[in-house]
Amino acid sequence: MITVDHLTKRYGAFTALDDVSFVARPGRVTGFLGPNGAGKTTAMRVVAGLTPAGGGSATVLGRPYAALPNPGRHVGLLLDASAQHAGRTGREVLTLGAVLTGVDRRRVGAMLDLVGLSEKEANRRVRNYSLGMRQRLGIAHALLADPEVLILDEPANGLDPAGIRWMRDLLRGFAARGGTVLLSSHLLNEIERVADDIIVIGNGKVVAHGTTEELLAGSGTVVRSTDDRALEGALRAGGVSTTGVATGGLLAETDPETVGRVALAAGVVLRELRSGDERGLEEMFLDLTAASAREEVAA
């Protein structure tokens, strides 16, 4: 279980995280989706205690990361596959992890085997590894001490299609055993194939969250009003679930007429009311990525 509560992080004038809240639950794979630079990595780094939060809090298994005893035995992290000493062999990297977390050294061989690094590859220095091999080593390192929670930043990067498929199976299996998985990606189709829940983040804000089915269905009603908060309260009181929308407003899981009646009863002035099925997750995500994609082309 990972709980992120009103997390804020600023670097000078740049806001990396703006009031980010979400929960990743045990037994489920939670996909953290957003374009490059949206704040996914920053949020994960704050959760892992590497970056101090500007405001708000993050807990893993009910505690701040720094308060976890022997954190490797509780949380498996892969934040950057390249963050390994180039002069150490893959086997040595895992051996150091095994000694530090106090797990049986035989697990090193078992993990190498699990992620498909051969004896020969394991004895090569990380300097000579391809990105895909580094990712596999990083996953082996994350799983080494049998954690309950996995936090993986763009784990599919550099993996070939077979590797990506293998990773999906692995993460689904991990969640099926009751583990919590939080993984990030900037690719929608990668996330939608593995995640039970999706959190969409853009420009440091959570712009949508919900189960994969809900978000992909894209049905319901998009509504904007002069007081979204009051409307949301009224809708929820009436048993209608709602989610935030990228461009402001709410996505209500019901038809426009019901929303209109609730708004009338609550005395909230509507500014927009339309069927939400014309605006799926994919389009929302494309909108989000368009801005950063343009910047990348220009750069």
């Binding site: 590497l50 101090p52 040595e92 992890g97 977390t101 293998w166 692995l170 269905a217």
Partner: protein, 274 residues
Amino acid sequence: MSTTTRTAVRDDAALQHARMPEPIPGERPTRGIPFGRLVTVELRKMLDTRAGRWLLIAVGVVIAAALTILFVQGGGDHPFGDYLQATTMPMAILLPVVGIMAVTSEWSQRTALVTFTLEARRTRVAWAKVVAALAVGVVAVVFSFALAAAAHAAAIGLRGAEGDWTFTWTALLGAAGYVLLGLLQGLGFGMLLRNTPAAIVLYYVLPTGWSILGSLWSQAEKAGEWLDLNRTMNPLFLGELTGQQWAQLGTSVAVWVALPLAVGMWWITRAEVK
């Protein structure tokens, strides 16, 4: 434009094919990583890279060369003190790099990311590095004393040199202090600068800098009596230290060893680990 309603295509069917890691039986730990284990790991990290290994090989080669010269020159007829210097000096000069790299490689190789997520209590990691560096230093000092004694004995036995085993305890303490303080200073510079070339250059340029400054400016010359580690440690080799010499040694150690370590540790607990 209307999007077709899509349902998530998940690969639950493939689940039975996925190999999963074996769970570790028993309870998850409720206590943190013991300090001794942190020290063990830090020691291993100092020696398990090429850089670390080559550095030790280099120390060995320089010592071997120095001993060979002593052995050949003048029929090997030198006092024990000379042999001791031949084994200790190379260590005192080169081992601080082990201390520097124990810290800076965490940043240059970005392993700090892993180190500080497996042990989030960063000060403990920093102290483990200090203890590990001191352990390396102590082993090196003991080894250098033993090697010097063996070489001197060999010179007496094989080359017929006249034995001269006289030495003062302060000289031994000085030799040990030289190696250990150098290692700690290296660690401190590493923590302060977190950049291998910068820390190494500063470490080696500093003593030369003092002598250049001292020759140009008499105030610096005076300050050097209290701040130049090379000068303040020198009396250790010669014999007894006066009260003022101890004070000078203490001041220079506080400025170049304790202060960088303290500031470096403070920074490490606060820094954003990239």
